[in-house]
């Protein structure tokens, strides 16, 4: 599509033939974040096919992903709670745009899933599948579809996706 913008547009050959000054570098920014005690134990749980949260004894609130301190009361009296691998959709979107702005045939379906066993409104971000996007609704009951145990890596992708049940 031609856009009606002023200026001189560049073509690939302008760059390849060095008609314009360019500089290139490949980014070299690598990190290995310590997960710490809260997220570390959460990820270990995923490897075992379990979803763990923490309960703040002061606020009487169960959150997921778990944390070893409560950001509301700032205390660290928390206990670990094993949650269900089921939940309900808090919100979702049907995404048709790829990283390079091209269109995708099968839309991506990110959703916030309130996990059964956590306090109301507390859930995790993940993706949905095995569902016709047209049928998606807030409040829909979904359950986790896990990787096979030997394929799990203590990683958020140990859950492949969530599907209605």
């Amino acid at each position: 599509m031609r856009m009606n913008l002023e200026g001189t547009s560049l073509k690939r050959e302008d760059i390849d033939s060095k008609r314009v000054l360019t500089t290139r570098f490949r980014s070299n920014a690598f990190y290995a974040w310590d997960t710490g005690r809260g997220i570390g134990r959460y990820l270990q749980g995923l490897k075992a096919g379990e979803i763990w949260g923490t309960h703040c004894d002061t606020c009487n609130r169960t959150v997921v992903p778990p944390r070893i301190f409560c950001e509301r009361c700032m205390k660290n009296q928390v206990s670990w709670v094993k949650l269900q691998d089921t939940g309900i959709i808090n919100t979702f979107s049907i995404c048709y745009v790829n990283w390079d702005a091209s269109r995708v045939e099968e839309p991506h379906l990110p959703a916030v899933i309130e996990i059964d066993g956590a306090s109301q409104g507390h859930g995790i971000l993940h993706v949905l599948d095995e569902v016709n996007p047209k049928d998606l609704k807030i409040g829909m009951k979904v359950k986790a579809v896990w990787k096979r145990p030997e394929e799990r890596n203590a990683d958020i992708t140990d859950i492949l996706y969530w599907k209605p049940y």
């Binding site: 070299n28 920014a29 290995a32 974040w33 310590d34």
Partner: protein
């Protein structure tokens, strides 16, 4: 001055090379809880505003200021991030309080240097993408250039720079927070692996992990909160022309001018006499001498001799980096000026234990933003309020 500002609480974690047992959030939380206890805070809900000192590229997260409220008890409160050293955050907190809109402000800084697998590459991205990066030089070369010129102009010597390392690592042995305390000789320092000459490996402070949190209060409430508030009498911050092509290699204007700004506010005319001790940037050995001279504590070329005569030792006339500095405690990225300030708070409260200085009332902290910058912040702290 009725609008004085004081540090009424500080909390921290020890500086360590590796901290795999905690996430950065858990590390900050640990420092935060201690700071609030130290400030006798009834509740974190009483805090009016929060400032975190962090650089996205060092965190590996864009818009890092969205990741800071939870661990400080700062949710649903005013919060912003300064991408600079702790001292710049503290200066910002002073301004916030002086507006009269906030009484109680928290400043946080941390380093998870151990989590950055390509720290030198991140540093490289601070250099000019068109003029400098294509040359593919490890950015520490800039320290080599600076040191070469500094020694040539000032006539301080390599041995004197090595002695800075010997002193600071010796001082660190008396600091239970430090990681790099050791006994060395200047020969060992000079014969360690050459990096960017004249620098050798032992003249670099090592990237290290740690977190620090300060609670600052207006004069109205400071004395009620803490029996020994530490007053911020002056703060100055300066950025010079940073490009490698146009900067002034002959003088360290960012340190000199930031100090003058802070001295003006604090009413200091003779810093050497009026300030009892110094906690200043020593990211590289020569930086301590360069900064001392720029701050006006010694004339050009006189700091090295003073060092050899023991004037910079804990029992000398101008104790410098009694804490061990970054060479002894490790370089904690944006938290560096925070740990320099911590030592001053401890000394002024007479809580410095085996390294407690006699009769100290006023201390100076100075931070440099690090390679490749020409930016710095000077803070003057005092036992006495205005």
């Amino acid at each position: 001055m009725s609008n004085s500002v004081a540090i009424v609480g500080v909390g921290y974690t020890p500086t360590r090379k590796l901290t795999p047992e905690v996430s950065y959030k858990e590390m900050i939380y640990e420092a935060c809880v201690r700071a609030y206890h130290d400030a006798n805070l009834a509740s974190h809900r009483d805090i009016d505003g929060f400032i975190s000192c962090a650089e996205d590229f060092l965190e590996g997260t864009s818009i890092f200021d969205e990741y800071t409220p939870d661990q400080l008890g700062g949710i649903q409160k005013p919060m912003h991030t300064i991408s600079g050293d702790t001292l710049l955050g503290l200066a910002t907190a002073v301004m916030n309080i002086r507006t009269g809109l906030q009484q109680l402000v928290v400043v946080e800084a941390h380093s998870k240097a151990s989590n950055i697998k390509t720290l030198d590459a991140i540093l490289h991205y601070a250099t000019d993408p068109i003029l400098t990066r294509p040359l593919h030089l490890n950015p520490h070369f800039i320290a080599g250039l600076e040191m070469q010129r500094f020694l040539d102009i000032s006539k301080n010597t390599l041995e004197q720079c090595a002695e800075v390392v010997v002193k600071n690592k010796r001082n660190a042995l008396k600091n239970d927070l430090s990681t790099y305390g050791t006994r060395l000789t200047t020969r060992e320092v000079l014969s360690s692996e050459p990096t960017s000459t004249p620098l050798t490996q032992l003249q670099h402070a090592e990237p290290t992990d740690g977190a620090i949190v300060f609670v600052l209060a207006s004069s109205k409430i400071a004395k009620k909160m803490n029996r020994t508030p530490v007053w911020i009498k002056g703060c100055g911050w300066i950025s010079d022309a940073p490009s490698l092509e146009t900067r002034d290699w002959n003088r360290c204007a960012y340190a000199a001018l930031s100090a003058q700004m802070a001295y003006r506010q604090a009413g200091i005319r003779n810093p050497k006499k009026q300030i009892d001790f110094f906690e200043i940037d020593d990211t590289f050995s020569y930086k301590e001498l360069e900064h001392l001279e720029a701050l006006g504590i010694y004339e050009t070329g006189k700091s090295g001799k003073a060092l050899l005569q023991g004037a910079l030792d804990p029992d000398g006339k101008t104790p410098t980096n009694v804490s061990g500095g970054s060479l002894g405690m490790g370089h904690v990225l944006e938290a560096t000026g925070g740990f320099r300030t911590l030592e001053i708070v401890k000394q002024l409260r007479a809580e410095a234990g085996p390294r407690q200085l006699d009769k100290v009332k006023t201390g100076l902290a100075f931070s440099w933003r690090g390679l490749p910058t020409t930016s710095g912040v000077t803070m003057i702290y005092s036992q006495k309020g205005a």
